[in-house]
């Protein structure tokens, strides 16, 4: 980051001349900083980068609600939410490092370019010291790379691809959400209990990196159980009508359909698969089963009745009964009148975790904050004992296996938790997914 | 020898025989009119000269070279320019640009990226274009957008566009169609001036007044075939021609 160029001084003069009547550009008024956007005033600015338009706009809106709630709690407003149950007591409800938290927002549009542009605005113009949010892995990886270059911390939002903390991991990036590897590991034993070991699976996979990654994990773990894979068919992103991919399943001899789809693709492929009678079918004398490895409650609502009895995994669900989850649901529900989604939960946690790390480090300098997060063990944020693994900046915690509820009591009550797969079962060695963190970057402000 | 030679040209459209063994010779430096009743095949014949239509059989030679199989722009580059029944001009361009463009085509050929030197610096071409506009009496409107012109002025503009190319052969498809009498007379005068410069012209025309004021030679086309060819004075008296025109109301 070069903020000092030869032209700067010339511009300074010119702007001083032209400057009557409007504020001098912010960039020229900044003094020397030890790291990018070091906060000098009474506030520190967080950047919330969420999808506000496009297919994930509702998820993005929920993320933003969670962030706003988190900021309130960090600044000591409201009921404090999960701060009360959080194992670290560094945050006192008076901001972070003596500064009140302010925030800026931006629209990722679920496009890498737009997300990076928006993040850059928050860094270059608004002086954000940390960027967080997002609802897809492509965007998360893109923004993570940007934050690494710019020298700010990136706290990933909803991103489920292995690559975020695998192949494409970066020192300045941290992920609380789980990944496809953990989904596979968590689902496999549950699938074994529910459907046995003699099964033939048919995969429909969204044809991009996340889909492939998900397909690979599920294949790996189910084949370890003794399942066979009849076929794994790639479907174009946003296909809408999946009938041409579903009909070949009917007579393929497979008795399990795995839908490696997310968002609208998941809603449509699941709805249509059920319409083709797959949920009620009998194959090889067994009940046909459909599995959706990554569930999102918000999206599942779009599939309506069709989710009933369908297995999947999720990062968190509002019906959990631990103290942290209860506190969060209570706080969020009081504020907005409905329960939070898993996206909201992970974003809330990320904001709190970042603030806490800054407080413990006593600075916002990325390298120090990063060190405070690396290897940090905590509890009370709704997922049980959790660790931010130092080697890949991935959180390790229990994974929820859920099922579409047969008798929902409200429109939010679509999933029920079947199993909490303990952390030990979903853990994998950090080297397995490749990639390199590299050094922290504090920027050159 | 003839500048344009047409031998045994036939053209069918489905069941309709539009041209039936047409023969024609146009001598250099003459004005050759092609007349005939509606549907006689005049425009079809003209289209065969410029590459818009391809005859089924026959020969069309221009200056010793066959025009068959050539694209319209190649035929133009060979020295044939055409004036359309409805003036075809560049409506969005100014008059001077309309005339400069064919001049560029003459100088630079069918394609050349002349993308750096401004048009303003092309003084030679510009003066040539202005001269042509003066010739057709439109120099005062050089900076007007062409679509604003009256039909008669558009025709003059089109003539200027053709003349700036110094064509060896100028084809005119009913140059006075739809014009008021005054305009028609102006156009005739203009065409006479052009003819006076020795440019060979083939004129398709309905208006016999125009034909007899201009033409050195007249071919009469009826039902796709040439029924008579002669000097204008003798064509008037030709019985076959009288019949073709249903008692010669036009004559």
């Amino acid at each position: 980051m070069t903020r000092r160029t030869i032209t700067r001084r010339d511009l300074l003069k010119t702007s001083a001349v032209l400057g009557a009547g409007f504020a001098a550009p912010m960039i020229f008024t900044r003094g020397a900083m030890a790291y990018t956007n070091e906060p000098k005033g009474a506030t520190v600015t967080f950047g919330f980068n969420v999808p506000q338009t496009g297919a994930y706009a509702d998820e993005g809106a929920d993320e933003l609600r969670a962030y706003q709630l988190a900021v309130k709690h960090i600044n000591g407003e409201g009921d404090g939410g999960m701060l009360a149950t959080f194992s670290s007591k560094a945050l006192k409800g008076n901001g972070v490092n003596g500064k009140k938290v302010a925030y800026v927002t931006g629209d990722t549009q679920t496009k890498s370019d737009a997300a990076r542009a928006s993040a850059k605005r928050m860094i270059e113009k608004d002086g954000a010291v940390m960027i967080t949010g997002g609802s897809s892995s492509g965007v998360a990886i893109a923004v993570q790379g940007l934050c690494q270059e710019a020298g700010v911390i990136f706290m990933a939002g909803l991103t489920h691809s292995n690559d975020t903390t695998g192949k494409d991991k970066r020192a300045n990036g941290f992920r609380h959400f789980f990944n496809t590897e953990m989904s596979g590991a968590a689902l496999a034993p549950v699938l074994k209990n529910a459907f046995g070991t003699d099964r033939v699976a048919y995969h429909l996979t969204a044809d991009y990196t996340w889909g492939w990654s998900q397909e690979g994990s599920i294949k790996k773990y189910t084949e370890q159980l003794g399942w066979k894979t009849a076929a794994a068919v790639r479907t174009p992103l946003g296909a809408g009508d999946f009938s041409q991919y579903i009909t070949p399943v009917l007579n393929s001899g497979a008795d399990v359909l795995v839908l490696n789809h997310y968002g609208k693709d998941m809603v449509n492929s699941l709805t249509q698969a059920v319409q083709f009678g797959l949920r009620d079918k009998q194959v090889n004398g067994k009940d046909f089963a459909i599995v959706v490895p990554l569930y999102s409650r918000l999206m599942a609502q779009g599939a309506g009745e069709n989710v009933k009895g369908i297995f999947g995994s999720t990062n968190w669900h509002w019906s959990l009964q631990d103290e942290g989850s209860k506190a969060f649901v209570k706080s969020f529900g009081k504020e907005y009148g409905f329960p939070p989604s898993q996206a909201a939960h992970t974003c809330y946690c990320q904001a709190i975790l970042y603030a806490d790390a800054c407080q413990r480090a006593g600075t916002f300098m990325p390298s120090e904050v990063g060190k405070a997060l690396e290897g940090f063990k905590f509890d009370g944020l709704g997922n049980g004992p959790t660790e931010y693994r130092a080697a890949d900046h991935q959180c390790f915690k229990d994974v929820l296996v859920v099922k579409g509820k047969e008798k929902p009591t409200s429109k939010f009550d679509v999933l029920e938790v079947v199993e909490v797969t303990p952390r030990s079962q979903v853990e994998y060695p950090a080297e397995m997914l490749g990639g390199e963190l590299g050094p922290f970057n504090n920027g050159t402000a | 020898m003839a500048i344009l030679t047409v031998r045994n040209v036939n053209k069918r459209f489905g069941g309709l025989k539009a041209l039936d063994d047409v023969n024609l010779e146009v001598q250099p430096g003459t004005v050759h009119a092609i007349i005939g009743p509606n549907g006689a095949g005049k425009s079809t014949l003209l289209n065969c000269f410029v590459g818009r239509l391809e005859p089924d059989t026959g020969v069309v030679d221009f200056d010793g070279v066959s025009l068959l199989g050539m694209k319209p722009h190649e035929i133009n580059q060979a020295g044939v320019s055409r004036v359309f029944q409805t003036p075809e001009i560049f409506g969005d361009l100014t008059l001077v640009e309309n005339v400069m463009l064919p001049a560029f085509a003459r100088r630079d050929g069918a394609f050349r990226i002349n993308g750096w030197r401004p048009v303003l610096s092309e003084t030679g071409i510009r003066e040539l274009a202005m001269e042509m506009l003066r010739d057709v009496g439109l120099a005062d409107h050089a900076q007007t957008v062409a679509s604003q012109l009256s039909r008669g002025d558009k025709r003059r503009l089109e003539l200027a566009m053709c003349l700036v190319q110094e064509p060896k052969l100028l084809l005119l498809d009913e140059p006075t169609a739809g014009m008021a009498r005054a305009d028609t007379n102006n156009t005739i005068d203009l065409l006479k001036v052009i003819a006076g410069r020795g440019i060979t012209m083939v004129v398709i025309e309905h208006d016999m007044h125009v034909v007899f004021s201009l033409a050195d030679r007249v071919s009469v086309l009826a039902q796709g075939t040439v029924i008579a060819e002669d000097v204008p004075e003798r064509i008037k008296g030709n019985q076959k021609v009288q019949d073709a025109y249903l008692g010669g109301a036009h004559l």
């Binding site: 270059e124 | 722009h73 580059q77 320019s81 560029f104 993308g115 048009v119």
Partner: protein, 381 residues
């Protein structure tokens, strides 16, 4: 379109343009746009739109697939950073060339048709590129994630000349000058100015006149001895090279290339920029690009809290009302504002923003220019 242009007028235009580029950080600061990334985007999309206008504005051929060339330029540039060197010059040259080559191939086929058939052919090629880049071409494009730099990249030229990169990922440079932040903007600005100048030369040249004539009357062109296909193809390739260059610059300021840059919405965006600014005008496309990027980046950034600040001068009840109403148009509602803007502009200023500018100019001159003719509508059914 008639612009009475003179050398003096063009010189003033260039001078004004250069001044705006040079002082953009100060000029855009009061409206919240004075930060490097947005200004870089203005410059890059300005180049894209200026190039697109050479095709669409002059010849009237409406391509709905120009984003493909932008994407190709970006991928080429990132590959150049990965394989050759972090120096931006080879990347930009290669991006421009690749954009041109792709345009040559697609244009050669698509220009066999005109009108909407041409549009759909270009759209089809771009969509094929996008779909393949997102999925099966992942080894080349890195699919959804987008192509990015890694530690293990060879960078043979850098290795050859002993250029050292630090521990972290290397960043792009021009012989040591960093390409992010302000220096990145000024680099883009200089390129924009150069490309604007090239476009001005083309507009004023006989070649530009030929292209305008293609739009006006292709039939007459043929009978005037001009082979229109190579002219349209040349325009297509030039605009493809502009797009490739713009794509390359995107990678220069931010070394990541994603497939979505090639999606039809991205192609549509440059069409909208050009029409919004004023098709066939020199300055219009740059204006249009700026307006759309400004909306995308600034209007989307408003949230409830910032709005409450803005309306804090109002009594509380009014404040809430004002926030609720404006909230529909900013933040997550910025698309609505953009859509409404498109409609308003095209309804009230058929010639785009440039028509507005010209009307204002005419007002100042007291409406003396009676000779000026309204742009005739070229419409065929």
């Amino acid at each position: 379109m008639i612009e009475k242009h003179s050398r003096r007028g063009d010189l003033l235009l260039l001078l004004g343009f250069a001044l705006v580029v040079a002082f953009a950080p100060t000029i855009f600061e009061p409206i919240g746009g004075g930060y490097p990334d947005l200004l870089q985007k203005f410059a890059i999309y300005g180049i894209f739109a200026v190039g697109f206008n050479i095709l669409f504005g002059l010849t009237g051929y409406l391509s709905f697939g120009h984003a493909a060339f932008l994407g190709v330029g970006s991928y080429t540039a990132v590959w150049s950073f990965k394989l050759l060197t972090m120096n931006v010059l080879p990347a930009l040259v290669l991006a421009t060339v690749m954009g041109g080559l792709f345009a040559l191939f697609i244009g050669f086929i698509a220009l066999r048709r005109s009108g909407i058939y041409f549009s759909i052919l270009t759209l089809a090629f771009a969509q094929m590129s996008y779909n393949l880049a997102y999925s099966v071409l992942t080894p080349i494009t890195n699919g959804e994630t987008g192509l990015q730099l890694t530690h293990g990249d060879p960078r043979v030229l850098d290795a050859l000349f002993g250029v050292q990169h630090g521990d972290g990922l290397p960043s792009t440079d021009l012989f040591g000058m960093s390409m992010s932040g302000w220096s990145g903007y000024y680099f883009c600005g200089v390129v924009l100015f150069a490309m604007f100048y090239v476009s001005l030369r083309i507009f004023r040249s006989p070649f530009g006149m030929m292209l305008r004539a293609v739009k006006s009357n292709q039939n007459r062109m043929n009978y005037t001895g001009i082979n229109t296909r190579p002219y349209t193809l040349a325009a297509f390739v030039i605009s493809g090279m502009y797009a490739g260059l713009a794509g390359g610059l995107m990678a220069v300021t931010d070394p990541l290339a994603g497939a979505e840059r090639m999606q039809w919405t991205a192609s549509g965006e440059v069409v909208l920029m050009t029409i919004l600014g004023g098709t066939g005008t020199l300055l219009g496309p740059v204006l249009g690009a700026g307006v759309i990027k400004y909306f995308e980046n600034i209007f989307s950034a408003f949230n409830e809290a910032t709005l409450m600040d803005v309306f804090s001068f109002l009594p509380e009840t009014l404040q809430h009302g004002a926030v609720a109403i404006t909230g529909l148009f900013v933040g997550e509602g910025w698309h609505l504002t953009l859509g409404a803007l498109f409609m308003l502009i095209v309804i009230f200023l058929p010639g785009g923003l440039m028509e507005g500018v010209n009307r204002i100019k005419a007002l100042f001159r007291g409406g003396l220019r009676r000779g000026e003719v309204r742009r005739p509508a070229t419409m065929t059914g």
